[in-house]
């Protein structure tokens, strides 16, 4: 008797392919909001080493984090765009800007779910243009737990302004 083949879950969905140095990665298109040209980075004192600063985009202040450092072992030397992505943190939608070194591409493809041996930042794999590309799990690569409380002062102001 032969063992049943392992189940391969394939889901057809849209992905954004992004270039970080020599490698290409993918993000679920549902997590990507926009691709923008690099703009002024505002820096202020903080103790979150993964955050470089914030950019101002349509009145929204978005922190920047270079995920190439974690994926390739070195920071990007050339930044062509900032990819603006969103993460759900509790009830709040949290934005993050990721520097990328090349054009991004929207593709629709089957994703093969990540296996037990894959790194936690890998959500799955997709095959595109003869390449096998890692689909990234943004929540693992970017800092921020889901259950951080909103600072008290902001809550007061938000209540007053709503």
């Amino acid at each position: 008797m032969t063992a049943a083949p392992a189940t391969v879950v394939e889901i057809m969905q849209s992905f954004v392919l992004l270039r970080l140095g020599e490698r290409r990665f993918a993000l679920a298109a549902s997590e990507v909001a926009e691709l923008v040209a690099p703009s002024r980075i505002f820096r202020f004192p903080h103790k979150s080493p993964a955050i470089e600063g914030v950019i101002l985009r349509r009145g929204r202040m978005i922190p920047i984090t270079d995920i190439a450092d974690r994926l390739n072992g070195k920071k990007l030397t050339t930044r062509r765009f900032f990819l603006l992505a969103t993460r759900q943190c509790g009830a709040q939608l949290d934005w993050i800007a990721i520097p990328v070194s090349g054009e991004c591409e929207l593709v629709t493809s089957d994703m093969m779910e990540a296996g037990a041996s894959d790194s936690p930042h890998v959500a799955g794999w997709l095959s595109h243009g003869g390449e096998v590309i890692e689909v990234l799990r943004l929540a693992v690569l970017t800092p921020g737990p889901a259950d951080v409380l909103t600072p008290r002062g902001t809550q007061k102001f938000q209540e007053a302004t709503s």
Partner: protein
């Protein structure tokens, strides 16, 4: 016959803020949180040394009414390179007197954005959030965030030691006379 009232969009709520400088960096604080602004020269004679303070950013205290306020060097608090401070903000409903380099201006903010969850460090207690003014991003400080409860406890001990030393010095001075 009375004309129907025209429905108006509610005015956006605003908050008066003071923009101040610390080591070349601009911060904002709600003007309602600042009870008094004094020059450093003005309070120099009133400040008491706290030689036993283990909190690097606090080296002096000042007596206000029946309690001591701790003079916090804002540059050291934020991890910036200290520059000679010119002003002291006495912060309302706190034990903090804040040493800053200067005031840039007073203005109003109409939007305060909560810090992104990507910020994970002490800044979550330092700032109420961020605001955008004239196409620049300014962190809005949390007045209660300059001294934690643990730091206040340590400072109370340092203050007690300083007071005891001062009383002993006064008593020995009186004995000599």
């Amino acid at each position: 016959m009375r004309a129907p009232a025209i429905a108006r969009a509610p005015e956006p709520r605003t908050e008066q803020i003071i923009l101040f400088r610390v080591s070349g960096q601009t911060f904002a604080i709600s003007s309602a949180s600042v009870q008094e602004v004094r020059s450093v020269d003005n309070i120099a004679g009133m400040a008491q040394d706290l030689p036993d303070s283990s909190i690097r950013k606090v080296r002096h205290s000042i007596r206000r009414g029946d309690r001591s306020l701790y003079i916090v060097n804002a540059a050291l608090h934020f991890g910036l390179r200290p520059e000679p401070a010119a002003l002291v903000f006495f912060l309302r409903r706190t034990r903090t007197a804040l040493l800053v380099d200067g005031i840039e201006k007073m203005t109003t903010m109409s939007r305060l954005q909560a810090l992104s969850h990507a910020f994970q460090g002490e800044e979550r207690s330092w700032y109420r959030g961020l605001t955008a003014l004239d196409q620049a991003v300014i962190p809005v400080v949390q007045p209660e965030g300059f001294l934690s409860l643990a730091e206040l406890t340590l400072l109370e001990s340092a203050q007690l030691a300083a007071d005891t030393r001062a009383i002993a010095a006064e008593t020995s001075g009186a004995d000599i006379q």
